[in-house]
Symmetry: C2
């Protein structure tokens, strides 16, 4: 069954409104009618099993029959990754991160980041499409772009903090450090890696430098590699 | 240090010839000169530490100083994946598979495969570029396209054989079956998954149906997900 997305959810009244593209897809493409059952997510880990109660020109009314919480006590992964030179590589990373599953994605700017701007409207569309395609109920939060040192300053000390780097100064292999049931922040740098200064800054803030394999992975590959291991280790 | 690729390697005479783009990159872009040291791979797991002995207009002569075998007794991963509707998704998959590391990649055609042709010249260029970028010494063998049942007929019984599917008929989670130090064949289907008939055919040939996570991953995501876990489990 297809999964729909809505922000207009009233749990008290047991009502959901589907509008915009979601409404059009439901009525014009899938040609659903009154009394048909559909599933809706709020992107926060809840799935609502609903029945169509009314169809208007620009929106559809749904009644909630059952609520499933798909996000209870799962460990959190916050991915902080440099904006990349080519937007298609960053977009691909974002799509894969949503499919495989992360909690938050923060685009960062570091010394060697060449491109500084992102099209957030386009990125949000890609994420929503990946959410629905993968039938996931958790839409990661896409944060505003932030300078890497500010990101480090604002991380929680209750998380396990890692910084990925190809510079072989005392990095630990991911095989030796990744453990289940821990909330994680991972920093991934741009094409030219983090600067020496940024790595020192991160280490002083209790970020452990890690390497992912014996190879030199591209930034987007490193991000997808880490999301995969986090999902595997935590059986998500 | 940059890694170069050559097929013109004479181990008996300790000589390597770099030509084409590799020669131009070495001399025109990196401006290397006689007596400079460079590393070369044959794509079969060997890295040759060399010295430049002569520079001609269209090629460079190298002398081998040392040979490192980077491929001894590593388990093999053969990835058989359906051609995808959008070529950029298949190309991305191929690039990531080379970076993370696989032994062979076979494009397959199954009942639901919509596109039947690939530009092998372009794919080989992408793979070579990914090999050099990731400083890997193993260039996966890109096989000719084959029909999925023919692929299954020709697989070795000494390998662990898996077929990825979203159809929840007795699939096992990858978490429960992946073990280190085993040679593996993994089949990944097209956007519409394998047909019921193909899944039965694979099961009868001792392919275990597997699912990768609780989500519905796109074909290229499933392929990258599996390559990552194989690399992690085997500490490659």
């Amino acid at each position: 069954m297809n999964l729909f997305f809505s922000k207009n959810i009233d749990k008290d009244l047991n009502k959901i409104i589907l509008d915009g593209q979601e409404h059009l897809h439901l009525i014009k493409v899938l040609r659903k009618s009154i009394d048909d059952n559909i599933n809706v997510t709020d992107g926060f880990g809840f799935i609502y099993l609903c029945k169509i109660t009314n169809i208007h020109k620009t929106y559809t009314d749904l009644t909630i029959n059952e609520i499933i919480n798909d996000n209870s006590h799962k460990p959190k992964l916050n991915l902080a990754v440099s904006i990349l030179k080519k937007s298609n590589r960053f977009e691909f990373l974002l799509e894969k991160a949503v499919e495989i599953g992360v909690s938050e994605i923060t685009p960062i700017i570091s010394k060697h980041t060449e491109k500084k701007k992102l099209n957030f409207e386009r990125l949000n569309k890609i994420m929503l499409s990946a959410l629905k395609q993968s039938k996931s109920s958790i839409l990661p939060k896409l944060n505003n772009t932030i300078e890497v040192k500010h990101y480090i300053d604002n991380t929680s000390s209750s998380y396990s903090n890692y910084v990925a780097t190809c510079k072989n100064n005392q990095t630990k292999s991911i095989n030796s450090i990744l453990k289940p049931n821990l909330n994680v922040n991972i920093l991934i740098g741009p094409e030219g890696d983090f600067s020496h200064d940024e790595l020192i800054y991160a280490k002083n803030a209790n970020f452990t430098p890690v390497s992912f394999s014996n190879k030199r992975l591209r930034s987007e590959t490193a991000a997808i590699y880490f999301c995969t291991l986090f999902s595997y280790i935590n059986k998500l």
